[in-house]
Symmetry: C2
Subunit: 342 residues, 2 copies
DNA sequence: TTGAAAGCGCTAACAG
DNA sequence: CTGTTAGCGCTTTCAA
């Protein structure tokens, strides 16, 4: 195993000072063309690479951003991650990534750990634990210590920083309106994420759509399920008793599960029951019948978040904090009826 | 924005030397309890954190490993990533991650970029591009420069290093055998990844199972599809002409697509047609009928890979290179028949 | 055109 | 018990 080659090594070879080597490799005009040429040639041949740790120490910049995500198996976050990775890599930034598994403690720990000089800034989507606990001091601390933060998707008003959010309310509003327009009367709302900011916004969008279409809001149609609940057991009674003819699902999984339950009960989709679900992963596309979804454009969200952070890091002046809103798209598939054209 | 606090600051406050502060915070016995106490108290109060960049420079260790993955939207890789993240985090290692998008160039670039002192080692699964090109010098170079590598899943014999692989051959063998035992006669093989090492091993397993059951191998039943091919167009003629009664799909997506095609053609699953697919993501579980899969235990693979790398980094002696094989499991769902019990 | 010296934040060997 | 010094790899004055 070769020793890593340093300026010192090269200096010794040519019997010059380290400074001369440094300047040569940076193509400084202070150095004679001849010296530069031979040193550059040698460095290239030896595959010299400046030690980025030393540079980080010197510049107090690491060109590295921390990405903190609740769960990478969620397709929205996975896509967002891809978007961030792309933008970061295009701008010469590295990514240190971390998965909180929805845990407040893990989120705090990892941020504390990374506030040690390894990073120039953070991109984070809050864990469920944090949104429940409503304690954001680990974030405000980071900002106070000069580490800029960009929050995305799961954000909070209580931290002032750049944000990228999905227009969840619009998404739910459009989906609900579409269901109404296609003739649905009793639209149930199904949610595994009533704990989350995004869950609340989606709920608002649903209610607003009903109101705007003069449909009374029936709170008993709003079904919160826990991840471990027996899905069939909670859902089936509702469908029957309430004469439900459409389901708006606020998360990816419950839409899929709902479809399965509904099919098993012998309903036809979309004739007897329409379904729309949040998050446009592979799942709803490949299921039969395929499920109409609200796309949150994860890649775009991620790319925007990374770009915002990098802009701030590259800028010297303090710019104002911005919140960028990404619009959703309704992707119509087999689980919803066509709008009746008049 | 506060200046980051350093040993120097603290030293000035108490009018002692930097060394004294350093020793105090490391609880050295050289320092009087009194001095230690007051300095420790102050450091804690001020939330002092040692600058890890400085430490990295000093120790020539960064406690950071690079993870290079072809595609995080693939559920096997996502799970492997989760496994690695967990083990790394438990052992106090950070993760710098990178997605190659199956591109050889990106893989080479990112490795060159990261061979600059930021990392202690790599975990990598080869991109498709690399497996096609069969050029591994970026890997051997890294090893020669003292950066250990652990390869997982998509590996090559041409690089000597630690490896974690899935027993792909066994997986395909067991799946094929299961199909045979449940009465299938004409088992088609469907593959989007004939370019990959794992694709080749799975093909071997399929052939071996046929041979062991005295079934003649019909090469025309082996169907290579490209990602952009019209799936129906390639598959449908085969099914009819060849009297196919089972499909073994070497990747997640094509199993799902095959099921859709088959259902559309009016076949009953599993009565007329059995399906088994590689990779046990959410998709095959939630589809109707649910699809039997070969689980590659992504989390385990990832965790093992991380552990191997960390062990090597923590060890001083050079240990031999090992290859760890993770066994697959066949997960039976609705797309396959029960084994006939005699 | 080149080099010496200082410094980024920290530790460790050695003196005092 | 505390401080001085050197050094990790690099850049950047400033002096020669």
């Amino acid at each position: 195993m070769k020793e890593r080659i340093t300026l010192k090594h090269i200096a010794k070879i040519f019997d010059v000072s380290i400074a001369t080597v440094s300047k040569s490799l940076n193509d400084s005009h202070e150095i004679s063309t001849e010296t530069k040429k031979k040193i550059q040639a040698y460095a290239k041949e030896q595959n010299y690479k400046p030690n980025s740790i030393a540079l980080s120490l010197l510049n107090k910049k690491t060109k590295t951003i921390g990405i903190i995500i609740p769960n990478i198996l969620n397709s929205f976050f996975a896509k967002a991650f891809v978007g961030m990775e792309k933008v970061a890599s295009e701008n010469g930034f590295n990514i240190i990534s971390c998965i909180t598994n929805e845990s407040y403690e893990k989120e705090v720990n990892i941020m504390e750990l990374l506030k040690n000089g390894t990073l120039d800034g953070f991109i984070i989507s809050l864990s469920e634990g944090t949104q429940v606990k409503q304690d954001f001091s680990h974030l405000t601390n980071a900002i106070n210590e000069g580490l800029p933060i960009v929050m995305f998707d799961r954000v909070t008003d209580q931290v002032e920083c750049d944000k990228v959010i999905v227009d969840d309310m619009e998404g739910a509003y459009n989906a609900t309106s579409h269901l109404i327009r296609t003739g649905c009367k009793n639209i149930a709302l199904l949610s595994e994420l009533y704990n989350l900011s995004v869950g609340k916004l989606r709920l608002e969008g649903y209610k607003k759509a009903l109101r705007d279409h003069n449909i009374e809001i029936d709170e008993s149609l709003i079904i919160n399920v826990n991840k471990n609940d027996d899905f069939d057991a909670t859902l089936i009674p509702f469908i029957k008793d309430k004469n439900i003819d459409a389901i708006l699902s606020l998360d990816e999984n419950s839409a899929i599960k709902a479809e399965k339950t509904v099919l098993n009960k012998g309903y036809n989709i979309p004739e007897d029951m329409s379904i729309i679900g949040f998050t446009n992963g592979k799942l709803p596309r490949f299921v039969t019948p395929s499920i109409s979804t609200i796309s949150q454009h994860g890649r775009v969200v991620g790319a925007e978040a990374a770009q915002m952070l990098i802009n701030r890091l590259n800028d010297d002046e303090d710019r104002e904090y911005k919140t960028k809103v990404i619009n959703t798209s309704l992707i119509q598939r087999e689980s919803t009826k066509e709008t009746v054209s008049n």
